[in-house]
Amino acid sequence: MQLRINGESREVDADGDTPLLWVIRDDLGMTGTKYGCGLAQCGACSVMVDGVITRSCVTPVESVADSAITTIEAIEQDAVGKRVVEAWVKHQVPQCGYCQSGQVMAATALLKENASPSAEDVHAAMVNLCRCGTYNAIEAAMMDLAGIENTAPESEAAGGGEGGLGAGTIAAGVAVAAGAAVAGGALVRRSRKAKAAGQETSPEARPETRNEEEGA
């Protein structure tokens, strides 16, 4: 099948249900897009599909055959992407760097859609995990890019409670964390909860998880 990726047309020989992530990494040899979980949980694999931020680890390649795909390799060819990279360097965002391809893609997708997002828009869009805890540096870079003075009132900086990530989202996540400690019988239900929380940010989340299969 033909893929339109980073402005080029590339022929790939992959089954239609292969996740886009592995086509990009193994078939096309572009390793800037990362594998962290394979389950739409972390965002390390984020790419843009027709400008929309997409978790490529759960996106079947056949579903994007007619779309324009942008990966981190082409980020500086995009004016907005270039600005994002500059802000990332200016604010010295990365630590290990492993999550940062996905973070930069998420930032770029947001700013391409909305050049002056509110703090709430930023919090709603920047949901990828970073195990190195670069969240505050990302926040600073994003406020800079959005033209918001980074003196956010306490309630916002403290966790987006009033923002796009409403209290409901937070509560759902916490409930899962607490639930993880409970006995195995509840496994399926918990996986569904986790999925519900995940789906708010990743419409591509596949319908079942490995954990669920094991629990079932």
């Binding site: 992959a14 996740p19 592995w22 990494r25 193994d26 078939d27 390793t31 990362k34 594998y35 962290g36 979980c37 394979g38 389950l39 949980q41 972390c42 390390a44 990966t71 981190i72 980020i75 500086e76 990279v85 990332w88 360097v89 010295q92 630590q95 290990c96 760097g97 492993y98 999550c99 940062q100 391809s101 930069v104 919090h123 949901v127 995990l129 970073c130 195990r131 190195c132 805890g133 969240y135 505050n136 540096a137 990302i138 926040e139 306490e154 966790g159 987006g160 990530l165 209290a167 989202t169 937070i170 509560a171 916490v174 964390a177 993880a180 400690a181 195995g184 986790a194 490995r210 954990n211």
Partner: protein
């Protein structure tokens, strides 16, 4: 890692000019005409080195850590330490550059390879861990830079026909002021190739007051490549003709592969090259990793219980982490003493009031975002080459030599960037993918890259130990603690990895309970060894990661019992300790003055603050956290942390590391735990193993205090004070005593 004393053997020797070994350097990618200084080669070493270096297609692996000043004015530096986000590449460049007198931004830094030659040169093992990289090599790196500078000056003196004493340097250039002439370092490098390295005693190091780069927030060298996907991690490595591998591990460690029920079916699946039986796992090789993963997960294996007499660390079918931690808390007995002062028993007996409580911690995953991988290739010359994440290349090299029967010099270790590590990439029995990759490369006759899926990683990731600590304290008539006992029922990571007890106490089991600075006259700290069925590991800040939580939260309980404010209690217990009094005052000021609360914040929420202190890895830290409760769960608004590592190299990196360590500490105290039921982990991915999300990250305010004390670590020390600060704030706010992590297990009233 069992003998922390070994760490301090690094580094040995003096810088040595190895430019003359051109035959070797040329094939290692060193630019022609570059000046190359190596670490501490013994005199006469070039010959010995030449002998130790058999013909190899990749001589880079035979070249020791070095600094290379190239004709194009860039400087290549091979770092003995791995970069995994902690900024060590930049810090190393800063230190060398300061004395070399060149802008650190011209440095190109790579991880030095492992090799017998390399080991000879540093006179011992090297490890990226224990927050030691900078503090143990600081002087050495300065001398290395100063030696190179002196040689460039000498080369310029010869070129210009003037005395070396009439020359000075400016960043990247040697200057002859009298004539106004100047020469760039790149132009001079070739002239310095055959010069001797100046005697160490003749080197003049810069006056720290005149540092231009050390102590400044120099920009990190790896920001652009890490913001554009160009940074290369082990998982990204590829070589020609490589096969991809995926594994399915036995559900419990120790089980063995029995019959595979659908092997033929799986062999016929698309892309499958072959199916393999490994030690406690099955594997599929394929031309694409996705095919390998899908196929290996489809394999239906009859896993066999281990033989009753097998002596490995087998996971029993009845292991449940909740029940196990409960059993730790139920232990009795005095344990083995790790630290004692005065007469605890007598002072406790005579105390006006006493407090007793049992606290516990939880098992944790490293959960570094890059899943482990290993790429193995047998080279035509008989060497075995590996690309894999590791925090100690020579240790891996030694193990692989043992495993394969090769000489260590035939084992080439490439160490790409680490996608986070936090202790994950040491040698762990059954916890590293390289033995499987090697076996598969051998079986297939082709290079093999094995990636552990996230699910396989969470099945075999060795855990941060859990502990239950029985505390007792005796208070005098004024409410001050005069007797303090902690007995920790646990197995230390060192003991767990060795799978046996060493001589005496495993210090990494009790650090953070021991060596507290508080002046409590009668103390007794002990370990009650209890073997854990799960495999164990080092985790960022090791024993301190949990022990400071356990100690500092109990200390708040003691303070409340005695009716003394916990911040005030700490100040009194640190009376006469100038360094820690200053630190405590610094964090108090940073937070706008200590106030415990509860109080009502501007937005109407009820909030309170807590304090925690820790003395990990040669540094001192104090943290204050402010919390509120929303829908029964804890929200952390702000963390203020003061850290005193003695002196520092880069304040921007320190601040980033405090943020990073605080995030991991928060993740631990708020929501993280690895739960086992029936011998298996409940969570196999981030859906059930929750880590701190962006919306849960508080603001972090950092105050760096440079007391001038001996240089301490930076990567780990900011972590341990944060969890107790949060838990103490929650206790202050809710009146509910917090005696365990994670807080997500507890319900609080708003």
């Amino acid at each position: 890692m069992n003998a922390p004393a070994d760490f301090h053997r690094f580094p040995a020797g003096e810088p040595t000019n190895i430019s003359r070994r051109r035959f070797l350097l040329g094939s290692a990618g060193v630019a022609t005409g570059a000046l190359v200084l190596g670490f501490g080669i013994p005199l006469g070493a070039p010959r010995a080195l030449a002998q130790a270096a058999p013909a190899s297609p990749d001589a880079a692996s035979r070249v020791p850590a070095f600094i290379e000043i190239r004709p194009d004015d860039t400087v290549r530096f091979l770092s003995p330490f791995m970069e995994g986000g902690q900024g060590v590449f930049t810090a190393m460049a800063q230190i060398v550059a300061e004395e070399l007198d060149i802008d650190p931004s011209v440095f190109v830094v790579e991880a030095a390879p492992a090799g017998k030659v390399f080991q000879v040169m540093i006179g011992g093992m090297r490890i990226t861990g224990g927050s030691m990289s900078v503090r143990l090599t600081y002087d050495f790196m300065r001398r290395l830079g100063a030696s190179a500078r002196a040689m460039l000056i000498e080369a310029a003196a010869r070129r210009l026909g003037v005395a070396a004493g009439t020359l000075t340097t400016e960043p990247g250039k040697v200057i002859h002021k009298a004539s106004g002439r100047s020469l760039r370092y790149g132009e001079l490098a070739s002239g310095a190739l055959d010069l001797p390295v100046p005697d160490a005693s003749a080197l003049k190091l810069r006056d720290p007051k005149q540092f231009r780069w050390i102590g400044k927030p120099v920009a990190r060298l790896d920001m652009h490549e890490k913001s554009t996907g160009k940074a290369v991690y082990a998982i990204d490595c590829k070589v020609e003709n490589m096969l991809h591998a995926a594994v399915q591990h036995a559900p419990r460690l120790g089980m063995t592969v029995g019959a595979i029920r659908n092997e033929d079916l799986v062999k016929a699946m698309k892309g499958v090259h072959s199916v393999h039986r490994l030690d406690g796992a099955v594997a599929v090789l394929a031309e694409r990793w996705w095919h390998a993963k899908r196929a290996v997960e489809a394999l239906s294996v009859d896993w066999q219980e281990p033989a009753a007499d097998s002596d490995g660390r087998n996971m029993p079918v009845d292991f449940g982490s909740d029940a196990f931690v409960k059993s730790l808390a139920a232990t009795t007995g005095d344990g083995e003493e790790a630290e004692s002062e005065g007469d605890f028993a007598k002072a406790f007996e005579e105390a006006s009031q006493t407090v007793e409580a049992t606290y516990h911690s939880q098992y944790l995953h490293h959960a570094q975002l890059e899943p482990p991988s290993a790429l193995a290739r047998f080279n035509p010359d008989g060497t075995l080459e590996l690309w894999m994440p590791n925090q100690a290349p020579e240790m891996f090299q030694g193990q692989i030599a043992e495993l394969t029967g090769l000489d260590p010099s035939q084992v080439i270790i490439n160490s790409p960037l680490l996608g986070g590590f936090f202790g994950r990439h040491f040698l762990y029995p059954a916890g590293n993918p390289y033995p499987q990759a090697i076996a598969l490369a051998k079986a297939s006759g082709r290079p093999v890259k094995l990636i552990w899926s996230r699910e396989e990683e969470f099945l075999r990731d060795p855990l941060r130990p859990a502990a239950a600590v029985r505390f007792r304290a005796g208070l005098d008539a004024e409410g001050m603690p005069v007797a303090f006992e902690a007995i920790s029922a646990t197995e230390g990571p060192g003991e767990g990895i060795a799978n046996k007890r060493g001589k005496g106490i495993d210090e990494s089991a009790v650090e953070g309970l021991t060596k507290k600075a508080y002046a409590i006259p009668n103390r007794r700290i002990a370990q009650q060894f209890v073997k854990t069925p799960a495999t164990l590991a080092y985790w960022r800040s090791v024993g301190n990661s949990m022990n400071d939580f356990l100690y500092e939260t109990f200390l708040d309980e003691v303070a409340d019992k005695g009716g003394i404010d916990p911040y005030g209690l700490r100040l009194r217990l640190l009376h006469g300790n100038e360094r820690l009094t200053n630190l405590l005052n610094a964090v108090g000021e940073l937070s706008g003055g200590w106030k415990r609360g509860p109080y009502t914040a501007a937005d109407g929420t009820r909030r309170a603050r807590g304090i925690g202190m820790a003395s990990p890895f040669g540094s001192e830290a104090a943290a204050i956290a402010e919390v509120s409760i929303r829908e029964g769960q804890v929200v952390v608004h702000d963390v203020w942390e003061a850290i005193d590592p003695g002196s520092i190299v880069n304040p921007a990196i320190v601040e980033a590391q405090v943020n990073s360590a605080a995030a991991l500490g928060l993740s631990q105290v708020l929501m993280e735990e690895a739960v086992y039921e029936k011998g298996e982990p409940v969570a196999r991915n981030y859906d059930l193993y929750q880590i701190l999300r962006p919306d849960q990250m508080p603001r972090v305010h950092v105050k760096i205090v440079e007391s001038g004390a001996k240089m301490g670590g930076i990567g780990e020390p900011p972590l341990p004070a944060v969890p107790p600060a949060v838990a103490n704030a929650v206790s202050a706010l809710t009146g509910q005593r917090v005696r365990s992590m994670p807080l997500s297990r507890l319900k609080f009233d708003s």
